[in-house]
């Protein structure tokens, strides 16, 4: 059974709902730009870990404007530091997807003792002129769906985007989540991780969807060459969100890495 509680950080100005389930070592999941949903990937991990999945500021229902109190990436990193204190956790395994993986890496660089291990799934954080990252925020939702998933009509795509274009609830949720994440990504999703990544102490796993059409797999090099010992796993049958399209395979990779 997934439990939920809402924790206020940042002088009580930023409310973050936290979904959690399972028992065992703590695993903190940082979701991507499209928002958080409890999905088969998190459910699979909850068999071996206490999965803790907070919502990025602004995406918690009833608290959309809290995002205006998080003015910079530095503020955001400190919000997560405070969140771990509020949860009574000294550290956790960090798992992040896309924008969430960038934030997980930033927290692990700023406060290295917080991250026991770090699993980054199709992370953002770097920029190469030769391989520009697609700005999904410039696309309408149907096109984002086609870009994000290897199979835009598959179960994972339907779960995230709703059944049709006229799903107003899904549209409102996703558009606001994109804006709240975009605050830390626009217009180029390179916000200086390259200057800080050397501080990361945690062993790192890189997971990439083979057909990622948003952050091409060549970006794994940017992370791998700066994180000694980082291992790369490429997942076939998946685009930018392999943990959604191949939940069992990615959960297995993360579980083996996190328990090692």
């Amino acid at each position: 059974m997934t439990a939920e509680r809402t924790i206020a950080v940042w002088q009580d100005r930023v409310r973050m709902r936290v979904l959690s389930e399972g028992s065992g070592p703590a695993l903190l999941f940082f979701h991507g730009p499209w928002g958080l949903a409890w999905d088969p990937f998190l459910a699979a991990l909850a068999r071996d870990f206490t999965v803790i999945a907070p919502e990025h500021p602004g995406t918690t229902p009833g608290a959309p404007d809290d995002i205006y109190h998080v003015e910079s990436l530095w503020d955001l990193v400190l919000c997560y530091d405070e969140l771990l204190d509020a949860l009574g956790r000294e550290d956790a395994v960090f798992v992040g997807h896309s924008f969430g993986a960038m934030v997980a890496a930033e927290v692990a660089a700023a406060v290295p003792r917080r991250a026991r291990r770090l699993a980054l799934i199709d992370p953002l954080g770097f920029w190469r002129d030769s391989d520009p990252i697609t700005n999904w925020m410039a696309m309408d939702l149907p096109e984002q769906r086609r870009r994000l998933f290897r199979d835009p009509d598959g179960e994972a795509a339907r779960r995230l985007f709703g059944e049709g274009e006229d799903d107003a609830t899904a549209r409102l949720r996703i558009m606001w989540a994109l804006g709240a994440a975009g605050k830390f990504l626009w217009p180029i999703p390179d916000k200086g991780l390259k200057k800080r990544i050397h501080r990361i102490k945690a062993p790192t796993l890189l997971v990439w969807g083979k057909d990622d059409q948003i952050v091409p797999p060549v970006y794994a090099d940017e992370f791998a060459r700066r994180l000694s010992g980082a291992r790369l796993e490429v997942v076939s049958g998946a685009g930018h969100a392999p943990q959604m399209e191949q939940p069992d395979a990615v959960a297995r990779l993360v579980r083996e890495f996190a328990k090692a």
Partner: protein
């Protein structure tokens, strides 16, 4: 009422298959494939000549605006144009209406306060200070401002601008987006406490509130005409009333596309293809560009999702007669244009500060002059007196020009 000539400074010679070959007129159109700097120099000079011609023929004001990386309008600095216009209308009663320099793309935004003060000094106090929020294409896509910070940044910049104009003493501005320890503007504007402020908008509810709270004239810059604007402008007037202000028609501005011929048929014959060029090519960009995530605040987004505006009409399917019938364009004989403007725009929307776009799309220079000339001779005199009998004061017009029409004889430069 006051009637001003507006100009976008468009590319007038885009290829016939432009909208099939290129994804967008804005942000991404490739300069080297589509434009030539010598020819574009000619466009700028035609634009200035057309506006100065309008000024000589008795228009009350001349308007320019700011866009970036945009083939339908590329005056990245409207104040460069405004300074030529201020000089070229020296000694006249024509207002220099800047609609205008975009604060969120100016860093620090006191640059706009300074340039507007310069224009006010050069023009002898004839400036109208438009303070646009700026479009997502210009501000977010071309100038890199984060969509979620766009409005916050704008509002801080407006407050800073007003204080920079009015403060007697040097002051420090310790803002969220701007920190300036020594704000001490040179020059200051002639108009006191500051030039009239117009805020262009496109129907967002929060901008209505902002305009009224700042005692600004709200200007709806629409390409869809007055019919489509009625319910929206009614909501603006509701806000005006709710906030305890008088429904002074000069609190509202509106931009209307207008083409005048000798007869309705003559107008269609002369202008149809230029109108179609405008709607088919100049307004060609991906819908998603208009609303990057975070640009709308949550409440506006919620409202937009709950009550989706009728699927926006695909203007590429419409032809000249459709645009005229639907009111996107008011076109026809002088009588047709006069009657429709008076009813649909001036009365129905309660507009005191009218702006008309008379050079449209591919319209060549000579034809633009003809349109301006016919409008000035046959339509403008018939509209000018509207609202006079109700006794409203146009507090949103340079004080020294309020009572004056612009008799051609007084205007410098000759014909």
């Amino acid at each position: 009422m006051k009637i001003s000539a507006f100009h976008l400074m468009p590319h007038r010679e885009l290829p016939d298959d432009f909208e099939q070959r290129y994804p967008s007129v804005w942000v991404t159109p490739p300069w080297h494939e589509l434009a030539d700097a010598d020819r574009v120099g000619q466009y700028y000079n035609w634009t200035l000549d057309e506006l100065l011609y309008a000024a000589r023929l008795g228009f009350d004001g001349v308007c320019t605006n700011e866009h970036h990386q945009n083939a339908y309008g590329f005056m990245p600095s409207p104040n460069l144009m405004g300074s030529v216009l201020a000089r070229g209308t020296q000694g006249s009663n024509v207002a220099i209406v800047q609609m205008g320099a975009t604060l969120p793309t100016s860093n620090p935004p006191i640059r706009v306060a300074e340039e507007y003060a310069m224009l006010d000094c050069i023009s002898g106090g004839r400036l109208v200070a438009g303070l646009p929020l700026g479009s997502p294409m210009d501000v977010n896509y071309c100038y890199g401002i984060t969509p979620m910070e766009h409005r916050e940044r704008y509002r801080e910049a407006v407050a800073l601008t007003k204080k920079a104009w009015t403060s007697r003493e040097l002051f420090a501005w310790n803002g969220r987006y701007f920190q300036l320890a020594n704000v001490n503007l040179w020059p200051r504007p002639i108009q006191q406490p500051h030039p009239p402020i117009w805020i262009p908008g496109s129907g967002s509810i929060s901008t209505f509130d902002f305009a009224v709270d700042n005692e600004a004239c709200y200007c709806f810059l629409s390409y869809s005409g007055a019919k489509a604007a009625r319910s929206m402008m009614q909501r603006y007037w509701d806000v005006v009333t709710k906030k305890g202000r008088e429904a002074n028609p000069y609190r509202a501005g509106f931009l209307q596309l207008v083409v005048v011929g000798e007869t309705d048929a003559d107008a269609e014959k002369k202008y149809a293809r230029h109108v179609e060029y405008f709607y088919h090519k100049c307004l060609h960009w991906p819908v998603a560009y208009g609303s990057p995530p975070g640009n709308q605040d949550y409440r506006s987004l919620e409202a937009a999702v709950a009550n989706p505006v009728r699927r926006v009409e695909d203007t590429k399917q419409l032809r000249y007669r459709d645009f005229v019938e639907k009111g996107y364009v008011i076109g026809g004989s002088p009588a047709t244009v006069r009657d429709r403007l008076k009813q649909e725009v001036v009365k129905d929307l309660r507009v005191g500060n009218l702006m008309v776009l008379l050079q449209i799309g591919s319209m060549p220079h000579e034809l633009a002059l003809e349109n301006i000339d016919l409008f000035a001779r046959t339509v403008l005199p018939e509209l000018r007196g509207h609202w006079d009998d109700e006794g409203w004061v146009n507090d949103w017009w340079p004080a020294t020009l309020r009572a004056k029409a612009a008799p051609a004889a007084l205007v410098a430069g000759g014909a």
